[in-house]
């Protein structure tokens, strides 16, 4: 009881701090702090556009301010109307043609950037990932590596000298979501019945945060995404660890059997066991992930237990039902789940 109250309190005070778990890296996903080529290119273009619009703002706002101050009616000159000026073809042509020329320049530059980002061919060494949007979590599949995980995308750092970019295929099983990790690339919608692609080549190892950017229903606000950029060797080690089937911890055998006997296996996969459901996140290496529920809570023993008991307590509307198992079974299940490292 006390534990539940504490949990509820933690929920009220503030949602679990995902970023805090992220090794102290800067967790403000500013579009002006890029680490990957598309985001660098966009920042470059943004500076160009900001420069142009900044000058326009200064000129037009300055003229407006000058006009307002200079031509305000002063006491004593209310006698007559000012001279009526009906227009001037030369001046009006000038302020039509000059903006038009600016637009032409802006357009040519924009077109170049659109094509340079959009039309990048996939090099042979690229990592391929398929990200599937679900209400309200991300499934992350590495089709060539045989890995399936959730909500945390792991990619290798890409050295500009010998790039190993990651090409992401985006699909949705339900409604439209949007994949947005601002420091890596611009966003791309995740549209059902349509396949979109986006690529990233992060140069700096670290952890970068993002979240769903297209309104997708009740928990759109809690559909977070973490991208972990590893140095190449570390990424390879991560791949090997993820490819392994689920750990079979003898001390949790009872829990494993209980898991297989419950409805859990209808939706969840634990590779190496009979559990092969596909509707929910793959749990084979559950404990390598920082959060549960796409950022709803830190992935701790206690939170996991609360989640299995009633996901809605941590994330209202989560599609996983409350399992309604006895307190003893709940402990057994949780003790099993935490062995899935």
């Amino acid at each position: 009881m006390l534990r539940r109250a504490g949990l509820a309190w933690a929920f009220v005070v503030g949602l679990p701090a995902v970023g805090a778990a992220v090794d102290g890296s800067n967790s403000t996903p500013s579009i002006f702090a890029p680490v990957s080529t598309p985001a660098f290119a966009i920042r470059e273009l943004a500076f160009f556009v900001l420069g142009i619009t900044g000058v326009i703002f200064a000129v037009v706002a300055g003229l407006t301010l000058y006009t307002i101050v200079r031509y305000r009616r002063r006491p004593g000159d209310r006698a007559s109307e000012p001279p009526q000026v009906y227009g001037s073809m030369q001046i009006e042509l000038a302020w039509t043609v000059v903006p038009f020329l600016i637009v032409v320049v802006l357009f040519l530059v924009t077109a170049r950037y659109i094509w340079s980002i959009d039309a990048r061919p996939q090099p042979p060494g690229a990592v391929e990932v398929t990200i599937v949007g679900n209400q309200w979590w991300w499934e992350i599949r590495y089709p060539k590596l045989g890995i399936v995980t959730a909500n945390e995308l792991h990619v290798p750092a890409s050295d500009p000298a010998s790039p190993t970019p990651t090409f992401v295929t985006l699909q949705s099983v339900d409604v439209i979501h949007s994949f947005w990790v601002p420091q890596l690339a611009g966003k791309m919608d995740v549209v059902p019945n349509k396949t979109n692609r986006v690529w990233i080549d992060p140069r700096t190892p670290g952890t970068y945060v993002g979240q769903c950017a297209e309104y997708c229903g009740l928990q759109h606000g809690l559909m977070l995404l973490i991208v972990v950029v590893h140095p190449r060797e570390e990424f390879d080690r991560w791949v090997v660890a993820q490819q392994a089937p689920a750990r079979d911890d003898p001390s949790a055998r009872h829990g494993r059997e209980l898991f297989a006997s419950l409805a859990c296996i209808n939706c969840h996969t634990v590779r190496g066991t009979p559990a092969n459901g596909v509707f929910g996140p793959d749990l084979t290496h559950l404990m390598t992930r920082w959060t549960i529920g796409a950022g709803a809570a830190r992935n701790t023993h206690e939170n996991l237990r609360a989640w299995v008991n009633d996901p809605a307590a941590l994330k209202r509307g989560a599609l996983m039902p409350a399992m309604k198992v006895s307190r003893a079974d709940l402990d057994t299940l949780t003790n099993y789940l935490v062995t899935l490292k």
Binding site: V13, G14, L15, G19, T28, P29, S30, I31, I42, L45, A46, T53, F57, V60, L63, T64, T67, I68, Y71, R72, R73, E81, P83, Q84, V85, Y86, G87, S88, E92, W95, T96, P99, F100, V103, T110, A111, Y113, I114, W115, D118, D174, V175, S178, W180, P182, G186, M188, D189, V191, P192, N193, N196, E214, C216, G217, L218, G221, L222, R316, G317
Partner: protein, 559 residues
Amino acid sequence: MSVPSPTMTTPDTAGTPRALVDHLHDWVVTVDHKRLGIMYVVTGLVFFVIAGLEAAVMRIQLAWSGLHVVPPETFNRLFTMHGTTMVFLVGIPIVFGFGNYLVPLMIGARDLAFPRLNAFGFWVLVFGGLLLHFSVIGGDGLYGAGSAPAVGWFAYAPLTSKAFTPGNATDYWNLAVFVTGIGTIATAVNLVTTTLIMRGPGMTFGRLPIFVWVMLTVSGMTLMILPPLSAAQIMLVLDRYLGAHYFDTQAGGSAVMWQHFFWFFGHPEVYVLMLPGFGFVSEIIPVFSRKVLFGYPMIVAATVSIGLVGLSTWAHHMFVVGLGGPVTTFFALSTMLIAVPTGMKIFNWLGTMYGGKLIFRTPMLFSCAFLFQFLVAGLTGIMLSVAPFDWQLSDSYFVVAHFHFVLFGGLLFTIFGAVYYWFPKVTGRMLSERLGRWHFWLLVIGFNITFITMHVQGILGMPRRIYTYQPDRGWEIWNFITTLGVPVQAIAVLIFVANVLLSLRRGERAGDDPWDAWTLEWATTSPPPDYNFETIPVTTSRRPLWDLKHPDDPDGPHE
């Protein structure tokens, strides 16, 4: 000032209940364009207060990370209702209400071409508004708890399908917007017809006041853009109830098609709302600068070309849908092109003010704030038209900031300016200048506190429509400042409401032409009689009243 006299809004017979009923009855059965215009604007302002309160609740929820002022489902309903109400039940009625009231007066006509259609359009719109808000009670059927729609104001498929939004809330959204659309189409037909065939003697197209040109343009646009939306909404009904698959992605339908339909309406809709704002300032700025509008033909050309080019820019709302290079490039170009006529207008207004004798009464104050704020809106619009930049900014708070600069800092400021400008004509009394200044300055301060900061959240990666956010994102302080602007704006609007109510009873008598203005509506009494003009005035130039006041130097030879 102390002697009360009968006017339309302060009847001397209001004391007895029987007379009050008669009075209300008059308003309900009226087909007079002026009364309908007033009812349109008042309806819009009532919904504005409702939608504003919804926004205030959202801002309190987002003031800091992890707050639980409202649960997520309520938050989602709030932003859906806020957006839908502001666009369909605030912007449209106010803009078309002014059109209703002013167009016949400005062109020297006695009413609109189809007065009964006009009344029909208004009441259908009211019905649509009530239908939308009835969802709060009946969203899940009368026996249910009720729920407002929670699909966002552009209701993207397939979130609107039965699978993802069961119950009836989405249907209320769909049908309410459909119904208001019928009313809007009726009014647009009316305004186009009236402008084409009912202009008074001498009122050639070359002499139409800019506001009339604007209403003609946006009414024409409305006729082109609303039917596709209505069609899409019928398809949605078929999807939801008859097993069609237009937008059902599970059965091969297309989610992107809804977006094309919606934005083919939705983007020109922004111009339908914004151009009348341009119309207001094109009437207000010359009068308070004491100068003729600089470059009338260019402003007309710019208005019409915004209307035309505006029809081919819709997919810039979809730059992140994955349209591919060629389509993206095309819509980036068409969107940037809009900047040219828009820039022309701003320069023409500046040219009008330049060399004038600027009088800073409340309407002019609002127009000047509009100039600065709309400049910002236009420049952030250029940033968003640069497609790769948009890939970052789209669906972030930057976009929210941008369109609030357009529709609030732009349109709403001009609407307030227009209310202060034409209130004397409509009621025969002036609004208080002192309260007007408080209203203006508080609104400018509150608006800018709230919406300038919103750009920052967007740049820092905060998506729109999230009901809460993580504490470590660096968004908290900005959101807090954003929310701080809300009470300031609320006080400003309260002052405005008080100003209207007080001035209705005690405002200074306006006379026919309090601003020494030049268009035809100032040639008749305030308020105008049912038949508008005793004798239909003969128009001799773009500023018929200038010609009367300055017979030695009429406009005609200069045009």
